[in-house]
């Protein structure tokens, strides 16, 4: 029961946040504590991940994944708050580590001295604690709390550490997310009233045997849709994407990197957890009056699974995101803008894989989830690296607008090649991880076509269009900013050596993971199985049967 390895990443992040707050008077000490803290966090996460997904699973030499649980303050499930670490949580945590470690090292060199001293480091670690909590929690209200813990520091970081002209964007970001939180609270309250529990494992079990527990699942479908909308807002999927470009532009580069790389993935993770683990086997009963009316009108919902009903919605949102993100990115003249729109489009690919997974048979479902997870990992690393590169360009040249840039490749070759590597990882050129991400999405669409799914053909076409758009905007950014003859500001630019070293090392990760792709694929496979294997999840948490 009391395996502290599950809670360790959370405690490490919290303690580091407090220590950095306490050492404000000693800037060097504070920075040292912060960097040591992130190191300890990485160790804690890797220790947890190696318990959950043993090395044997990664190398393919056998071994089984485990699901560890932890009852905070010793209250049994479903009364107390459970922390659950399964392969999916572990995968997402490792993804977070891959992004936050370089982002924090970059911040220590990039963010202004005074701003760092005031509270940058503690805010960063609080945000990290929120992300960790959201990945680990097995309780839906606790998920809300961790979302808030994650968002509150991000408001402050966007508002007060961004450039002054972005106050309006920051205000929009804050108000929008506050409204999202209120709506999430409403959905959670409704789910508690209908299902009678907040423990995710317990909800999954009760919905799977709705009749035995006397639950009408139809209201849960609607409340789940509200919850889904909130998660989509956090993940920035069309039609909830409008805050993304302004907020990413407003945030300082390392924070934009963490937001695009990690907090977006928290939204994706929550969608996967909610739809595939919690609602995985739920079906709509025929009892509810509106359902009966709908039946009469010819589009009945009775007997359909939640996943089957969410699938088309996911599909439309994915198509919207891919097209809007891609077309938006092609028409921008600012590095950060392109990256922000591109991250809308890239999340679209992830959601597309999830949509195919939601409607398809089991084989397609697993393939879709694997594709979504691999794509998430690639996007997290490549996009964060690109945001950091954009920050480095700003530091070196003083602008990230295309009319001021040009010819960076001759002046700053290492920076330029880092951008090139990150860019082609987004495009998906082998042997980078991006290639496997795209390949798996196309593969899923192919499998879905074979399985005779109606939308699969459209999905394939949209994914192709999205890939073409990705090539277009990446090559355009490359042409405008890095090729050609050096512009005046570029000739006058200086070389931020340490920053360039950090981003170059970071972006190499895309190549390293792509060349050694087998373990990544096996980890994603284990995570996909964990996401769909409800019995193991429920048994690991083992909530007491009540009612």
């Amino acid at each position: 029961m009391s395996e502290h390895v599950v809670v360790a990443p959370l405690v490490v992040a919290l303690v580091t946040a407090i220590l950095t707050l306490g050492t404000r008077r000693y800037p060097r000490g504070q920075r040292a504590v912060s960097l040591l803290g992130i190191g300890a966090y990485a160790v804690a996460v890797l220790a947890l991940a190696s318990r959950v997904v043993p090395l044997g699973v990664l190398t393919g030499s056998g071994g089984t994944t485990e699901t560890l649980t932890y009852q905070v303050s010793n209250w049994p499930a479903p009364f107390g708050i459970s922390l659950v670490a399964d392969a999916l949580s572990a995968f997402m945590l490792v993804l977070a580590v891959a992004v936050v470690v370089p982002a924090l090292v970059f911040s220590a060199l990039y963010v202004e001295e005074f701003a760092q001293r005031v509270s940058y480091h503690s805010l960063f670690h609080f945000m990290l604690a929120g992300v960790t909590g959201a990945f680990l929690t097995g309780d839906i209200f606790n998920l809300f709390v961790w979302f808030e813990v994650m968002l509150m520091p991000s408001y402050v970081l966007v508002v007060f550490y961004g450039r002054a002209e972005h106050t309006r964007a920051a205000l929009q970001y804050t108000v929008l997310n506050l409204l999202g939180s209120a709506v999430m609270l409403v959905a959670i309250g409704g789910i508690y009233a209908t299902v009678g529990t907040l423990n995710m494992a317990d909800i999954a079990r009760r919905l799977a045997h709705a009749g035995e527990f006397g639950i009408d699942p139809a209201p849960v479908l609607g409340l789940g849709a509200i919850l889904f909308a909130v998660f989509a807002l956090k993940a920035g999927i069309v039609p909830f994407q409008f805050w993304v470009p302004a907020a990413y532009r407003a945030a300082p580069a390392p924070i934009a990197a963490v937001m695009a790389g990690v907090t977006k993935k928290v939204g994706i993770y929550a969608i996967i957890r909610l739809l595939f683990t919690v609602f995985g086997t739920a079906t709509v009963g025929g009892g509810l009056a509106p359902a009966r009316i709908a039946e009469g009108l010819g589009f009945g919902m009775a007997g359909k699974s939640f996943l089957g009903l969410f699938g088309p919605v996911l599909f439309l949102m994915a198509i919207g995101s891919i097209l809007l993100g891609g077309l938006g990115a092609v028409s921008r003249n600012d590095l950060d803008d392109i990256l922000a729109y591109s991250s809308i489009g890239q999340v679209g690919f992830i959601v597309l894989a999830l949509a195919l997974a939601a409607t398809g048979p089991q084989a397609v479902r697993t393939a879709g989830l694997i594709a979504a997870l691999v794509y998430s990992l690639n996007h997290a690393i490549a996009k964060s690296a690109l945001f950091l590169i954009s920050g480095t360009v700003y530091e070196a040249v003083g602008s990230i607008r295309f009319d001021a840039l040009g010819g960076l490749s001759t002046r700053r070759p290492i920076l330029a090649s880092s951008f090139f590597l990150g860019g082609i990882a987004l495009v998906g050129i082998p042997p980078l991880t991006g290639f496997f991400g795209k390949l798996l999405v196309f593969d899923t669409a192919g499998k879905a076509i074979v399985a005779g799914e109606p939308f699969a053909g459209v999905a394939l076409i949209v994914a192709l269009a999205g890939a073409v758009l990705t090539i277009a905007y990446v090559s355009r950014a490359w042409n405008r900013a890095f090729w050609g003859s050096p512009s005046d500001p570029v000739t006058r630019s200086y070389q931020p050596t340490a920053l360039v070293a950090v981003v170059a090392a970071f972006v190499l990760l895309v190549a390293v993971l792509g060349i050694g792709f087998d373990p990544v694929y096996r980890a994603a496979e284990a995570a996909a199985h964990a996401a769909t294997d409800r019995t193991e999840y429920v048994e690991a948490v083992a909530p007491e049967v009540i009612g």
Binding site: M1, S2, H4, V7, L10, V11, L14, V15, I18, L21, G22, R24, Y70, Q71, V72, S73, N74, F114, A115, V118, S119, Y120, V156, V159, F160, Y161, A164
Partner: protein, 173 residues
């Protein structure tokens, strides 16, 4: 909290001043009572902290910021143009009093976290709480000491420190 604390010396009435004088000690006492019983009765660190700050806010409003600074705390708050805790300020040195509020905040946070970690050190899950029953205490006879009190005290300090910082910074404008 919603009222704007301004140096209002001169335009508060004798009635308001006298009532404040009587009411503030009562507020503080209630706050302490809520803090102490919070582990198993209505109350707790958060509400006790809010109540304490309410008491301070009342003094701010009725007696003015200058009075609190000079008479009660013997410190000054330099008027500044931007909130410090959120950075981007031109001044490089925090006014002493705000620094101390910030320290209260940090200590509270550390206390709350430590109360959870102690449980881990003793082999229980994070944030586990316990209670000791003490018999034969003079005057009280029987007493319960709940470990949750440490957590509550931490929350109390966080709330007091955080709110007083906001009050002092915004009030100083």
């Amino acid at each position: 909290m919603s009222s704007e604390p301004r140096p209002t010396d001169g335009d508060t009435t004798v009635i308001a001043r006298t009532i404040t004088r009587v009411v503030v000690p009562i507020i503080m006492l209630v706050a302490i009572a809520l803090l102490l019983q919070g582990h198993n009765l209505p109350g707790g660190g958060f509400i006790a902290g809010v109540l304490t700050v309410t008491g301070f806010a009342l003094i701010y409003v009725i007696y003015g910021l200058r009075y609190v600074e000079q008479e009660l705390l013997h410190r000054t708050v330099v008027p500044r143009s931007l909130p410090i805790s959120e950075g981007a300020a031109e001044t490089d040195v925090d006014p002493p009093i705000i620094k101390e509020f910030g320290e209260i905040f940090t200590v509270g946070l550390a206390l709350a976290a430590a109360s959870g970690i102690v449980a881990m050190a003793l082999g229980f899950p994070f944030l586990s709480q316990g209670v000791w029953f003490l018999a034969g205490v003079p005057l009280y006879g029987h007493m319960e000491v709940a470990s949750a009190l440490a957590f509550d005290l931490g929350v109390y300090l966080v709330v007091v420190g955080g709110l007083l910082t906001i009050l002092a910074v915004v009030g100083a404008e």
